[in-house]
Symmetry: C2
Subunit: 284 residues, 2 copies
């Protein structure tokens, strides 16, 4: 996916929010915004928004010295999610279609996204997603691919959401490799966050090498790319991963909530819709 004009004010918003997380000094934040403003003319519009997102967070890091401005809030979101985990597991247990309910829960976790300028209410939003209709619902294909695979590559997105992923991973009933970002970027899940989320108990963890808030294959490690092109089935969470993989030459199942106009237009759904999309690539 390329970058759209609508992404540009959003970069400025991301710079402001991350700057506010990293420092209380308004003059430093102003300098972050100045530099982000100067960056606009250099944005590679043919690349993904996630790649420019990385540049924005590098500006914040350079100006404040803080490499993980969302550290404390990530920890809180993981704790908040863990607190409702037993209830989520009970919902799956009591449901007629356990796999589908677990998919809904994994998508519900995707409301925890600090790259987006929308507030969320974890418990309320999760409940809403459990009853919401899908904008795209390729569930039949998902089941079919799941039946036929021995192993799943699962691309993580946000911290907190990562706890919800454990519910789906258990419901998949097959070995899962869970991929995390190489380093902190927005509230995306890193190795440390994945372990704090309990993902090491249900999956093998791997570092994709990505420093962007998404999966940009050219920037991932060669080991990860090999894993990607050879995995039996790929499940990709969230907008950032979708940005990098929407045109990739592999079958991918995208699970996400469409939270901004650019993504929802690209997917041809309404903003706010939940999506289970089967992207048909060519197995490399």
């Amino acid at each position: 996916m390329k970058t759209y004009l609508e992404c540009i004010p959003c970069f400025m918003n991301q710079a402001l929010r991350a700057g506010r997380m990293a420092t209380n000094d308004d003059s430093v934040i102003k300098r972050i915004l100045d530099e982000t403003g100067d960056m606009v003319k250099h944005i590679p519009m043919d690349k993904t928004p996630a790649e420019t997102g990385r540049i924005v967070y590098n500006i914040v890091k350079k100006r404040t010295g803080v490499s993980d401005p969302y550290r404390a809030i990530k920890k809180k979101h993981i704790e908040d999610a863990k607190a409702i985990l037993p209830e989520l597991e009970k919902i799956v247990e009591l449901s007629d279609d356990k796999l589908l309910t677990a998919i809904r829960i994994a998508i519900a976790g995707n409301v925890i996204d600090l790259g987006i300028d929308r507030p969320f209410d974890l418990v309320k939003d999760v409940k809403r997603v459990l009853d919401q209709d899908f904008g795209i619902f390729d569930y039949r294909q998902f089941r079919k691919h799941l039946e036929q695979t021995d192993e799943i590559l699962y691309l993580g997105d946000n911290s907190g959401e990562s706890v919800f992923d454990t519910v789906l991973i258990k419901a998949l009933g097959k070995p899962v490799i869970y991929a995390v970002r190489h380093q902190p970027i927005i509230n995306d899940v890193t190795m440390e966050d994945a372990i704090a989320s309990g993902l090491d108990q249900v999956a093998e963890l791997t570092d994709s090498g990505s420093k962007a808030p998404g999966t940009i294959l050219e920037e991932c490690t060669p080991e990860f790319r090999e894993l990607f092109y050879n995995a039996g089935m790929i499940i990709s969470k969230g907008q950032g991963n979708y940005e990098g993989l929407s045109n990739c030459k592999r079958d991918v199942f995208f699970l996400l909530k469409a939270k901004c106009v650019v993504i929802s237009r690209h997917l041809n759904v309404e903003t706010g819709n939940i999506v289970l999309k089967h992207h048909q690539g060519i197995k490399g």
Copy 2:
């Protein structure tokens, strides 16, 4: 009121929206955003957001050659508002407190604001405002000042909203001078828009000289400033006028809906609140 860091992403959004109104050529809009980005480091943070808003719209004008990108939509909003005008007048007629209902209607019209990144539904939003509690409600003072004055200076804000202003002007029952912007800026009401709104039938019209989306006294004409400092009572509509006059040395009654976090924080109300605020200045 000064400019806050939160205004900066908003300027970028305004540039994008105005650019989209003025042209379909994405490369031209990208250049508008590039220039707006370059402008960030030069923003006078001690001046009002309205003053920087003017710079943004000048960039759009320079790059597209379109001096009034909102022309068609302003016309439509005036027509939409006129279509419901008889109903609004009936609501006033049937109400116990005609003045207060007319004030509510004038504030309701303030939902028509294209400088703000929020969609609105005219009929639904107007109905909501008619029942909404005020965040600030200096109605007693408003009545007292109204009783004691022979003449009112009324500062217009947006086109379409301007039609709603006729309802309040009639209810005031005193001579009114209605001030408009000197030239098109966002969807703010100009002389042409005021006449199309029927304001010439209920008030004397005057051009404030302001080229910004607000009343910046130093940039208004000397004639307007004299009018301002000598008017018996001043009613100011909307956020842009508030930005310029929030610290002025005159009593002003601000009527607005707080539509962004910066304004609502400055007024110490919730975003979405409606406001009738008596600003106490020193009569010059």
